[in-house]
C-alpha cells in the first residue's frame, strides 16, 4: 500500500496536519508565530549537521531547535533586547551558519530546494512511521500538560498561583514545537513549516467560538490543505510544501466569508 510515493506523502502529511492543529492554535494564542519561524530557520542548520555527521534528520533538527529555544530563554535573561530582536538574531544566524556549512559539504549531492520547500518524493515508509509515532507522542504529552498550558496561555500569574506549574509546561511546549518542526521538515520544508502551523489555526479562529472547536477545525483544515495541496502538486508538478500552503491560504480566504456575512447582518 505504501509502495506508491503519493500514498506515502498523503499518509505522512495527514499525520503532520493532525499534530500541527492543536500546536498551531497555541502558537496563535500565545503570539509565537515568529518563534516558530526561528525554530524552522534553525532547522536548516540541523539538516546540514545531519548530513555532515550522518545522523537522523528529524533527530538532529529536533536537537538544534531545542538548543535554539534554550538559547533564547538564556539570552532574554542576560540582554536588554526585546524578544523579537533576539528571535531575529537567532533565526538568521542559525540560517546563515547552516548555509555556510552546506558550502563545505560540496561532496554531497544536495537538494537545497527540497530542504527549503519540501519534497514529497523523499517521503519513505520510515518517515511515515516517524511522523505517526512521533506525532502520537507529541499529542499524548500535550494532552497531559494541556490544562496547565492552556491556563498559562490565558494568564500566567493565575495559572502559577493556582498550582498549575506553568513554567514546566511552557518548557515542554517549546520542545513539542521543536518536535513538530523536526517531523515535518522533509514534507513541508524549512521555510514553510510555520505556515502549516499557523494558517489552519487562523482559518479555525475565523469560524469557531470555543477553544475546543478551534482545535478541531484547525486539524480538519490542515488535513484538507495537505490532501488538496498534494494532489495539486502531483498534477501540476510543483513543490509539495508551497502547494499545501497555497491551498491553506485559499481556505483561509474562504473562511473570511462567514465573518463578512456576520458583519453585514449585524450592521442591518
Amino acid at each position: 500500500m505504501f509502495d506508491d510515493f503519493f500514498i506515502r506523502a498523503l499518509v505522512a502529511g495527514v499525520g503532520i496536519a493532525i499534530v500541527a492543529g492543536p500546536l498551531g492554535c497555541l502558537v496563535i494564542w500565545r503570539r509565537l508565530s515568529y518563534f516558530g519561524d526561528t525554530l524552522s530557520h534553525s532547522a536548516l542548520l540541523g539538516v546540514t549537521l545531519a548530513y555532515s555527521f550522518s545522523l537522523n534528520i528529524a533527530f538532529s533538527v529536533f536537537v538544534i531547535s531545542a538548543v535554539v529555544a534554550l538559547l533564547l530563554v538564556s539570552l532574554q535573561k542576560r540582554t536588554k533586547l526585546a524578544g523579537d530582536s533576539l528571535l531575529g538574531l537567532l533565526a538568521h544566524s542559525t540560517l546563515a551558519i547552516g548555509l555556510v556549512l552546506i558550502g563545505f559539504l560540496s561532496f554531497i549531492r544536495f537538494d537545497l530546494m527540497g530542504l527549503l520547500f519540501g519534497d514529497i518524493l523523499a517521503v519513505t515508509t520510515a518517515d511515515i512511521g516517524l511522523v505517526w509515532i512521533g506525532g502520537s507522542i507529541i499529542l499524548i504529552i500535550l494532552y497531559f500538560i494541556w490544562k496547565s498550558l492552556f491556563s498559562a496561555t490565558v494568564n500566567y500569574d493565575l495559572s502559577a498561583a493556582e498550582g498549575m506549574r506553568p513554567e514546566v509546561s511552557n518548557f515542554i511546549f517549546t520542545l513539542l514545537l521543536a518536535g513538530v518542526i523536526a517531523l515535518s521538515i522533509k514534507m513541508i520544508g524549512a521555510l514553510l513549516i510555520t505556515g502549516l502551523l499557523l494558517i489552519p489555526a487562523a482559518i479555525a479562529r475565523n469560524i469557531s467560538n470555543s477553544p475546543r472547536q478551534m482545535i478541531v477545525i484547525a486539524i480538519l483544515s490542515g488535513i484538507l490543505s495537505v490532501v488538496v495541496g498534494l494532489f495539486a502538486s502531483l498534477e501540476i508538478n510543483t513543490s509539495s510544501g508551497p502547494s499545501i500552503i497555497v491551498v491553506a491560504l485559499i481556505l483561509f480566504i474562504i473562511s473570511l466569508v462567514p465573518l463578512e456575512i456576520k458583519g453585514q447582518l449585524q450592521k442591518r
Binding site: 496563535i28 494564542w29 500565545r30 503570539r31 490544562k147 492552556f150 491556563s151 496561555t153 490565558v154 494568564n155 500569574d157 493565575l158 495559572s159 502559577a160 498561583a161 493556582e162 498550582g163 498549575m164 479562529r205 469557531s208 467560538n209 470555543s210 477553544p211 472547536q213 478551534m214
Partner: protein, 247 residues
C-alpha cells in the same frame, strides 16, 4: 503538619529584589482561615508583589515563606485575555480545575453575571469581567483567596454588593482572604487585620488601632485619616452585611 491548624500562609521577613533595588523588604504576615487581611498603600508600594509572594508566584529573595494552603484562588489586578483566543465565560470558569455546571451557574449568580455564561470573554465590559473573575475564584472553593483590587471597574452599587459577598464567602467557606483594596471604608469596617505598605510594612494591626497610627496618617494624609477615624468612632453600633444595623 503545622502547629496551628488555622494558619494558611506565613511570610517571615520576605522581600523581592529587582536589579539590586528592593521592591519590598522585611514583609512579615500571616493569613488564617476565616480571616480577612488587607494590604493598603500608595501605588508602587509593593502590594501586588507581596500578594504574589504569598501565592508562590514570586520567590522571596530573603526570609522564608510557609504555605499550608491546599487550594488557592487568585483574582489578579490586571488581566487581558488575548483576542486571538475564542474563550467563553464557561471555558474560563473551568480554567484551572474542573467545576460542574451547576456550581458554575451558582457562582456566577452570586456575582450577578449568570446570564453571560455563554458569552465570549472579550465581549464583556471591564466590570462584567471583574465579576466573572471573582465568580471563578469563588467557584473553586479555595482555602486561600487572594484578591487584588477585585472591584475595579465595577459600578457603585455592585462594588458594595461584591465587598459584602467577599465578606460572606470568607465566613461561608472558612477561607483566608488576602485583599488589596483602595476602599478604605470597606477595609476599616470589614477586615480583621490591616497592613499598611510602602516598600516595607509601615504599620499593621486591627483597623481600629491602625487609624490612630502616626505612619498611617502620614501615608494617607491627615484629611483621609481623620475622616476614617471619625467613621470608626462616631458609630456605636455595628452593621450586618446588607448594611442594616445589628441589634
Amino acid at each position: 503538619m503545622n502547629e496551628n491548624n488555622n494558619l494558611l500562609v506565613r511570610l517571615k521577613d520576605c522581600g523581592i529584589q529587582k536589579s539590586s533595588k528592593w521592591i519590598v523588604k522585611g514583609i512579615s504576615l500571616e493569613i488564617h482561615k476565616g480571616k480577612i487581611v488587607t494590604l493598603i498603600g500608595p501605588n508602587g508600594s509593593g502590594k501586588t508583589t507581596t500578594a504574589k509572594m504569598a501565592l508562590n508566584i514570586l520567590k522571596s529573595d530573603e526570609g522564608s515563606i510557609e504555605n499550608y494552603s491546599t487550594k488557592m484562588a487568585y483574582v489578579p489586578q490586571k488581566i487581558s485575555i488575548d483576542w486571538t483566543m475564542p474563550l467563553r465565560v464557561i471555558d474560563f470558569m473551568n480554567l484551572t480545575s474542573h467545576i460542574n455546571k451547576d456550581e458554575i451557574i451558582e457562582a456566577l449568580e452570586l456575582t450577578g453575571v449568570q446570564h453571560l455564561i455563554y458569552n465570549e470573554i472579550h465581549n464583556l465590559s471591564g466590570g462584567e469581567f471583574q465579576r466573572v473573575l471573582i465568580a471563578r475564584a469563588i467557584a473553586k472553593k479555595p482555602d486561600l483567596l487572594v484578591l487584588d483590587e477585585p472591584v475595579q471597574g465595577v459600578d457603585f452599587n455592585g462594588e458594595i454588593a461584591l465587598y459584602n459577598l467577599i465578606k460572606e464567602i470568607c465566613t461561608k467557606l472558612n477561607c483566608g482572604i488576602l485583599l488589596i483594596s483602595h476602599d478604605l471604608h470597606f477595609v476599616m469596617s470589614a477586615t480583621d487585620h490591616v497592613i499598611c505598605l510602602n516598600g516595607h510594612i509601615c504599620c499593621s494591626g486591627s483597623p481600629k488601632s491602625i487609624v490612630k497610627n502616626s505612619s498611617y496618617i502620614e501615608l494617607f494624609g491627615e484629611h483621609n485619616a481623620a475622616t476614617l477615624s471619625l467613621y470608626q468612632h462616631e458609630h456605636d453600633h455595628s452593621h450586618q452585611t446588607d448594611g442594616s444595623v445589628k441589634n
